[in-house]
Symmetry: C2
């Protein structure tokens, strides 16, 4: 199934379509049936990683995808914890919806404060987002967090939510790794009042966080959400 | 082993160290012993993805890692096929060695030519790199290709190599996906005269390509390459 070593002739504009039909075939062969709302997000995560674990790992609060799409259509602000995730989000599509993507990780004030307080830049960058886009900033667009690296970013978000300092439209929790990654995601999942899409377990990454955003971007602005992708 | 849901207190500067010691423990438990040259690259790919498949997937031509490190120390040019991989490469470390990272995917001339010829931007962007850094450009630094997305980029590189138009110091072949990905990597592996690091199979990605570069960057400029990372 996965061992094809012969080159297939596929026109550039058909490569993605062909990829998704292979993904669909293999999901079917595995007996996995994805629902119409979450399927496009799951398929795109698999497309980005070639890792079918995402068919099982991704967990969604009810209507999380719909909520995310609506936020994007309303010109959401996206905050990420890596410049890699930021680079992976489809800029053309985001701009067409008036969506802006921010990453504060490399900001000198973030670095300075993290070093002074002995915490991570990821945590401080989330606090910075709260002061810029939090509840006191009136007339702000909805905020989507796309976390693809640091569990400390996710922990910081949980604290900011508990303190009522942020009210995210959606949190994408896809940090990756070995230290506090699993637990940070479980903390987010506990907060069922916050719309979230979480890559449960150790896996995730900037590429996965960006893929989840893109799956919703590609559906935004369309009259009807089909289950196609 | 992977199911720890309790938060562990780890100082920010110790998180990476703790992650690598978990990776080492689990590799040992799996009976996998990595050699001193390739181990740091493999461990960093696992660190980036939380996917132990990379302990088996990554294949190296003899001395590929040493060759890559030497090229970086000589101020190599790195060419990638995604802006995401470019964003994931440690800029500070690269700059300290005089290493520049290029991605031509979004260049208007690349888009225009790809559309005119009915091929991918990835393929055209590789040809552009050949005209900029290829064998006719005398006095050029060594070139490392870091391919994390498009198999068509890898096929284009194989053609350029066969035509003698490029002589890469190293090719990192980590495209990801379902259409021609497996075969493109096998094509590169066939060219054993070209130093390469390949993520065999479907898996890979911009994050993996960047991680492989970073693993070498972190060893560059050190008097002795230890097997630590």
């Amino acid at each position: 199934m996965s061992g094809n070593k012969e080159r297939e002739t596929v026109r550039p504009e058909k490569i993605e379509e062909r990829s998704f039909s292979i993904i669909n075939e293999e999901l079917e062969a595995m007996g996995i049936c994805l629902d119409a709302e979450n399927g496009p997000v799951i398929r795109r995560a698999i497309h980005t990683t070639a890792d079918f674990d995402y068919a099982e790992n991704l967990v969604f609060t009810p209507d999380a995808v719909k909520t995310g799409i609506r936020a994007l259509e309303a010109g959401a602000v996206i905050v990420t914890d890596t410049n890699m995730a930021r680079a992976g989000i489809n800029k053309k599509k985001a701009e067409s919806l008036g969506v802006e993507v921010f990453c504060f990780m490399a900001d000198p004030d973030v670095t300075e404060e993290a070093s002074r307080r002995g915490c991570t830049r990821a945590a401080v960058s989330m606090e910075k987002s709260a002061s810029l886009f939090g509840k006191d900033a009136s007339g702000m667009p909805p905020v989507i967090y796309a976390i693809g690296n640091a569990p400390t970013a996710l922990y910081a978000l949980c604290d900011l939510i508990d303190e009522g300092r942020i009210h995210p439209a959606l949190v994408i929790g896809a940090p990756v790794g070995f230290v506090n990654v699993v637990s940070s995601k479980e903390e987010l999942i506990k907060r069922q009042n916050v719309p979230s899409i979480v890559a449960r377990g150790r896996k995730g990454g900037s590429n996965v966080a960006a893929a989840i955003v893109n799956a919703m971007l590609y559906q935004a602005g369309k009259p009807e959400k089909e289950g196609g992708r």
